[in-house]
Symmetry: C2
Subunit: 333 residues, 2 copies
């Protein structure tokens, strides 16, 4: 290939930019699964103003950081968090090596198929099951197990693959933000290593842009081959106050856009939207009992109360899934 002098390159670059400019502006409807209502209009207006050069609200590309909760924000979280269903499947798979689980809660209830009883112990019980099923594996082993599960497991109510239960409108929103110079991150209470193996394929979010909860780890060399092993100890819980801390640790910039759906996301939205300059807080309100699930203040997962109460005064946009979305799932209606 011929190499040209640098001054010609500038001319060519300008010509190329000119040729492409009408295409860059082409954007029929970037959010086709969103009905033309207030939430969609607010998103479009926000992105419009922060990307308009010369505008008082213009935000340079490196500062366009957008963070998304995962469970209940990018995919469903009923009847329980999908990672809990993964953990239950792991308990069943590992039960032969753990005869003691038959007489030990919450494991015994999982093995009997009584998920309600298994979850009666709340977060501590879930943490105990997480540690019991996730620790002792190398990162490579765990990744393989997650990839196989996400490929083959089916949701107990819908019978669908879990990755078909991601929200089509949110995929469009992720794509739209990235097309406008945003860097998109997941900031989830879920396990960082449970999300990374499929987040890039499904959401277009690479592993280095996934923030989540994790076990402590140890680096060790086995027969000359180094491995990283999960220890039976919680390292970080990326929920509530943990979310701004996870953002600070992993991203090191204050986002200008945050989306969540539960009070576990409250501090993330608070941290994002109290910064200087234009900010956007988005709450997904699960109002569609027919196409998805309807729940908020009294739900055992994804409880949303304070967020609903304070959204108006804080200027957060609340998505009414039933009215605002003409399609819910990427893999269905």
């Amino acid at each position: 290939m011929k190499v040209l002098p640098r001054q010609n390159c500038r001319t060519f670059a300008l010509m190329a930019a000119w040729l492409l400019s009408p295409c860059l502006a082409q954007s029929a409807d970037p959010l086709p699964s969103w009905n033309d209502r207030a939430s969609k209009q607010a998103i479009l207006a926000f992105v419009g103003k922060v990307t308009e050069e010369g505008s008082a609200d213009f935000v340079p590309v490196p500062e366009r950081i957008a963070v998304f909760d995962n469970d209940g924000t990018l995919w469903s979280e009923q009847p329980v968090y999908f990672q809990a269903l993964f953990i239950f499947d792991r308990i069943k798979a590992q039960a032969p090596e753990h005869p003691e689980w038959g007489a030990k809660e919450p494991f015994a209830s999982v093995l009997k198929g009584d998920l309600k009883a298994a979850l009666a112990g709340g977060v501590p019980a879930l943490m105990e099951m997480t540690v019991a099923t996730h620790a002792g594996l190398t990162t490579g082993e765990f990744e393989k197990i997650v990839k196989e599960w996400i490929r083959t497991a089916r949701h107990p109510v819908t019978g669908r693959a879990y990755t078909d239960m991601v929200y089509q409108p949110m995929l469009e929103l992720l794509t739209y933000l990235r097309a406008n110079g945003f860097k998109t991150f997941i900031v989830s209470g879920g396990g960082i290593e449970f999300m990374r193996p499929w987040a890039e394929r499904v959401y277009g979010i690479p592993p280095e842009q996934v923030v989540g909860s994790s076990l402590e780890k140890r680096y060790e060399v086995r027969d000359g081959q180094p491995v990283i092993v999960g220890l039976p100890e919680i390292g970080f819980i990326d929920d509530k106050e943990g979310k701004p801390l996870g953002i600070n640790l992993h991203i090191g910039r204050r986002p200008i856009f945050a989306a969540g759906n539960s009070d576990g996301d409250f501090q993330m939205l608070e941290w994002t939207t109290t910064g200087k300059g234009p900010r956007f807080g988005l709450l997904i309100h699960h109002t569609d009992g027919r196409r998805e699930w309807a729940y908020d203040r009294e739900s055992h997962v994804g409880r949303l109360a304070r967020g609903l109460d304070e959204a108006p005064e804080r200027g957060w946009t609340v998505v009414d899934m039933k009215r605002d979305w003409n399609r819910v799932f990427a893999g269905g209606e």
Copy 2:
């Protein structure tokens, strides 16, 4: 701006790509500060093969992760780590509020200007001084202090700004890797919040691609405004075995390229270069006592012994600063 139908855009994109292609291939010498010796040739050969589509060694862009130590790899680290000099300056600045420091080591030695005595306590003494000077500040306050210091402080031996003591050949290497689709990260034992305020400007590495050591943090709301405050407790030490753990936590992929200069980087290079497929390990050997400093096995900072011993059998490339670099500093010869 006119909007064109999509099919025209594809044609225009192809025309634009064709116009620009000679420019993309233009790359007179991407590493002009590197002499034409084995280390430069090895870097060029590696980048050539992993970016050649169809080659058995081709690596897709998302997997092109390159990690760099900072102290002694991207900038100097003598007579002591620059962050230690920052800490000493903080101790002097805060001394009026801490009359007890006059009689308490290692603070007393710092205030007397006896840096050797101040550092006699090794890493624990440094950690104590780090906690004493970094904790209690919000992330915003700390960022301001670092920015002001990095702008105004001068190196005790060279009299230069610290950011002029970054290595020109390494800046070229970072740029060259990025131009070839690599994502570049810092993975340093230094404080993550000490590097982030200037790493983007100086190295082109954004905050979300900086991994380092940190204090525990707390999220709290003060008069309605949330802040993140450093606690007097070490949260993570990103050194030795900590480096692969930091990489796993922040990046979640195994790098294919790692550069370091001390045995604190050994595990990072080990983790990187024992993965499958093409891998590159780079060690900067400080051999230039005239333009920079000459040290390795017996040095109190940046000790390099095991790395030198094992580099040949592990296939790591060792840079001889004196012979391999025709220029050392970005801000000087």
